[in-house]
């Protein structure tokens, strides 16, 4: 437990990955990961909001009365989202259009509120910053992993670069929402299978000894 608390960044990055472990923010996870570019853009935007919200929430955590904390956190998140919205619009109008309503919907992404409530409201600013960054990068990583599979199979390209030439037969399914669910499930399956295999390998020598004794 102490080990986990010691490194909120690494914790959010992989061990408690928002996408693969906490299953938070499934809406953007499934909706905008049909290409790597969208996935990265969505991840970065969420990271920015997450860090900003975590830092702000953490710094006002002692001032906010317990009864109105959720409303306050949402108001802070909404502020951060508005800033991000304008930022993305200024940087690339293409990405802004591709992300569509999901950019504004970051405010209701459970990752934001969950980290604010579960972590930032109880920890100091620097640790909250690390937690926000870790979860944000973890979220981006997860989305990129989904986006990679979906773009490679669904469009035959990676970051818009064609991989298999013009004759590629796209797997239409992976560009559609069910493809998001299927890809997520297969990543989880892969992790579970790997964990299971490792656990079995660890348990095997003990079992062998029991048989022989």
């Amino acid at each position: 437990m102490s080990q986990e608390q010691d490194n909120p960044f690494l914790n959010g990055l992989w061990k408690e990955s928002p996408v693969f472990v906490q299953f938070l923010g499934m809406c953007p996870t499934l909706a905008v990961t049909n290409s790597v570019r969208n996935a990265i853009a969505m991840g970065l935007a969420t990271t920015f909001v997450l860090v900003l919200t975590n830092v702000l929430v953490s710094s006002v955590r002692k001032l906010v009365p317990n009864q109105v904390r959720i409303a306050t956190f949402i108001a802070i998140a909404a502020t951060a989202v508005t800033v991000t919205d304008y930022l993305v619009k200024a940087i690339s109008i293409d990405i802004y259009k591709a992300l569509g309503p999901f950019l504004a919907l970051i405010v209701v992404n459970c990752v934001i509120l969950a980290r604010a409530e579960a972590f930032a409201a109880k920890n100091n600013v620097s640790r909250s910053f690390a937690d926000g960054l870790g979860n944000g990068v973890g979220f981006t990583l997860g989305l990129t992993m989904l986006g990679t599979v979906r773009e490679v199979l669904g469009a035959g390209s990676f970051l818009g670069v064609s991989l298999f030439g013009p004759n590629f037969e796209p797997w239409v399914l992976f560009l559609l929402p069910p493809g998001g669910f299927i890809t997520l499930a297969f990543w989880l399956l892969l992790f579970a299978w790997y964990r299971d295999r490792k656990a079995r390998a660890a348990a095997a020598p003990a079992a062998m000894q029991e048989v022989h004794s």
Partner: protein, 352 residues
């Protein structure tokens, strides 16, 4: 063993009668029942269908074997169920379906469709249809590329789309079809012709198996014959196919009466598409269908009606696959709602 003297005395408790049917044996006979249909498909569509069927069968068996070993379990290919899944998957695909896509269908049918749920006996859906549903969603164009039956030179020439390179599109088939087809035989299936071009075709040639379609959806008489064999051997319950076919025929007939120009007659409904094959060999999957007699009727009729609804009102030309998958999903619920009354038991007040 006659003629061999043994000193072993078997002592067993009752019951002494035992059913001679094991899972392996039933499954083996289902494979036997599918072989004539596969053979007819090869006669109909030539070498492409033959290679496709062999490929899917082998693919499913291999997937099952490898997946079992990866999980560190004993391989379960000896129960023949993977071979059935492979054969059925092949029979539901267009004869010229690219082989690399068929391989993906095999992977999806066996690994997530069956073994993820816990293997034979635990699968919620018919694995072959899971594979096909995935292919339909992933490659909607390739899976509706039908080629004419009885094409010239079909025994020594592949349908060009069969041999598409992995991950690549197949070449357009129209030129090839124009080249090889026997007069009057088109590549489009009767259902597609009816739905999109409003051309009605005579149902009887389909019953005798001479139209374009999925490799094994025809001929009706052979499917019924092979299904009948399994019913006679008590390896399949007759209720589900009868319920599904009558459900489809009656609801199709109602549609036909309401608007004879838009909706086909019940005979057309019965003989076209995968209805006969689906009702006989897929809806009857013993794992994914209800076990109560009343439940089987409900399940069958439901799927029959759904098929007709999808065909007549939906955007797709054929609806058997989705009807059966939906029926599979509902079958635990149907079982729960239709428990048979134990002998001598009174119906409790308020029961259904």
């Amino acid at each position: 063993m006659p003629g061999v003297k043994t000193t072993v005395i078997e002592v067993r408790t009752s019951p002494h009668l035992h059913g001679p049917l094991s899972v392996d044996k039933i499954m083996r006979h289902v494979v036997y029942a599918l072989l004539p249909i596969a053979a007819f498909s090869v006669w109909n569509f030539g070498i492409s269908a033959g290679v496709l069927l062999a490929f899917t069968t082998l693919g499913c068996v291999l997937t099952e074997h490898v997946t079992c070993r990866l999980n560190g379990n004993r391989s379960t290919v000896n129960d023949y169920s993977a071979a059935i899944t492979g054969l059925l998957l092949g029979l539901t695909l267009p004869p010229g379906f690219p082989l690399w896509m068929a391989a993906i269908g095999c992977l999806v049918a066996i690994a997530p469709g069956k073994l993820l749920f816990g293997g034979l006996g635990s699968n919620v859906f018919n694995p072959a249809l899971v594979g096909r549903a995935f292919l339909q969603a992933a490659f909607p164009v390739a899976i509706t590329n039908y080629t004419p039956a009885l094409a010239n030179g079909r025994f020594w020439e592949f349908i060009p789309s069969s041999l598409a390179l992995p991950l690549m599109k197949s070449a357009p088939l129209n030129d090839w079809i124009a080249q090889v087809r026997v007069d009057g035989f088109t590549g489009a299936t009767p259902l597609v012709l009816l739905k999109f071009d409003r051309i009605y075709s005579d149902p009887w040639p389909m019953f005798w198996g001479q139209r374009a379609g999925s490799s094994g959806e025809m001929p009706g008489f052979l499917i019924l014959l092979c299904g009948g064999y399994l019913v006679v051997r008590h390896m399949m319950d007759w209720r589900i196919p009868v319920a599904m076919l009558s459900g489809a025929a009656v609801s199709g007939w109602v549609f036909h009466l309401l608007n004879p120009t838009a909706y086909p007659d019940p005979l057309f409904t019965l003989f076209t598409g995968g209805l006969l094959l689906g009702a006989t060999f897929m809806a009857t999957d013993p794992v994914a269908s209800p076990v109560t007699p009343r439940g089987m009727w409900v399940y069958g009729v439901l799927m029959g009606v759904l098929t007709v609804l999808i065909r007549n009102l939906g955007g797709l030309a054929e609806g058997v696959m989705y009807a059966i998958l939906l029926g599979n999903a509902l079958s635990p619920l149907i079982d729960r709602l239709t428990p048979p009354r134990p002998y001598g038991a009174r119906k409790p007040a308020g029961a259904i």
